[in-house]
Amino acid sequence: MNTLQNFSKGLVRENPVLVLVLGTCPTLATSTSIVNALGMGAAATVVLLCSNVVISALRKVIPDKVRIPCYIVLIAGFVTMVQMLVKAFAPALDAALGIYLPLIVVNCIILGRAEMFANKNKIFDSAVDALGMGAGFTLALSLMALIREVFGNGTFFGMPVPVLSDNHMSILTMAPGGFFVFGLLIAAVNKFSAHKPKKKNFGCTDCPSASVCPQACGSGEEEAHD
């Protein structure tokens, strides 16, 4: 796999949000405005990049037995760093993201990439993978935020959109709208990728939820194994 493919798989074919369906909580919660979505995407990408690089660099040092605790400590460390930097230099973004900023720690995308990619690959490849996945996450988030902000709030980057600003559907910016728009987007992805053979095993077996989670792993037709 060359570098370009490695990068672009995160954008489309293995988009973490729309295809792998990871990190749903921040996706739903922070996609109410485009600015928040970009901020969340950037914060998660930085954490993902740092954790992927460091975990890849330490992959021969970290013993297999304690690898998950090690990853969690590293990821939590990077999240706290990002949190402090955002608080210091972008307080408005910190207020908007609130609790979801520290919760990047438990974002499945980050632990998932560490477990699936970074601990088996070289530093450079892991960095590229992180950037691709981060970009894919940001892209999906921004797409949702675009729909929710333009139609739900009648604004685009905070600027009023003609016609829509007087006739906005507030429900889209509220909780039900988040679920609904997310459902529509995944349905659209299913529609357009229907002719391609469904790629099995995105590495979901490594996900901590794999044993009881057939649905969230992109293979909805399978029966639960529990």
């Binding site: 909580c25 632990l111 909780a175 679920f179 609904f180 299913n190 939820s209 057939p214």
Partner: protein, 196 residues
């Protein structure tokens, strides 16, 4: 006392973790297919939430804050939760094998459940006292339980229905979740006025 009741009811209904705060969506979508697994998961979550709050609140108040180490919150909390989950699993396996059999499979998942980390951090952010924090955790857990159980009912109906091809699986589940969460919007403002 009134304040505790308000905290409890708002955590269950108004600020429902799953349906209005979007925390713990992964298990909500993944484990709600069958009623028994939904119940098992929710009970495990309630249990871990209470334990985690009981452990993290004192740590933050008596250990981190007096020493100016508040910034270590995230890293300490996630480690405490991870260790706690391991500990609970070992204890259950050793002394209550029957309970372990029913809750066991869900326990490892809970470490990465953002609802648990979320409730411990929010308890600190909101400045709750210890009893308030415990009540809030209980309410959050019950809210999770309510959402899971309600939604597993909805899903059993969805299973049997004829859905357009591209909507099968997750999309129709999310659309149904949207409607369930719509119903919870109706609780807004009610609780405060019960005691007004």
């Amino acid at each position: 006392m009134t304040k505790l009741i308000i905290i409890l009811l708002s955590a269950v209904f108004i600020n429902n973790y799953v349906l209005s705060r979007f925390l713990g969506i992964c298990p909500f979508l993944g484990v709600s297919k069958k009623l028994d697994s939904a119940t098992g998961m929710s009970l495990a979550v309630i249990f871990v939430m209470l334990m985690a709050t009981a452990a993290t609140w004192p740590i933050q108040t008596y250990l981190l804050d007096p020493n100016g180490l508040g910034y270590l919150q995230t890293i300490v909390f996630i480690l405490v939760i991870a260790a706690l989950v391991q500990l609970v699993e070992i204890v259950l396996k050793r002394y209550m094998p029957s309970l372990h059999k029913s809750l066991g499979v869900y326990l490892p998942l809970i470490t990465t459940n953002c609802a648990v980390l979320g409730v411990t951090i929010l308890n600190i952010d909101e400045g709750y006292t210890f009893p308030e924090a415990m009540v809030n955790s209980l309410g959050s857990g019950l809210g999770f339980f309510l959402a899971m159980v309600m939604f597993s009912g909805v899903r059993s109906v969805l299973e049997a229905s004829d859905v357009p091809k591209s909507f099968r699986g997750l999309p129709i589940t999310l659309t149904a979740a949207a409607i369930v969460s719509l119903s919870f919007l109706g609780f807004g403002g009610v609780i405060e006025n019960l005691f007004a």
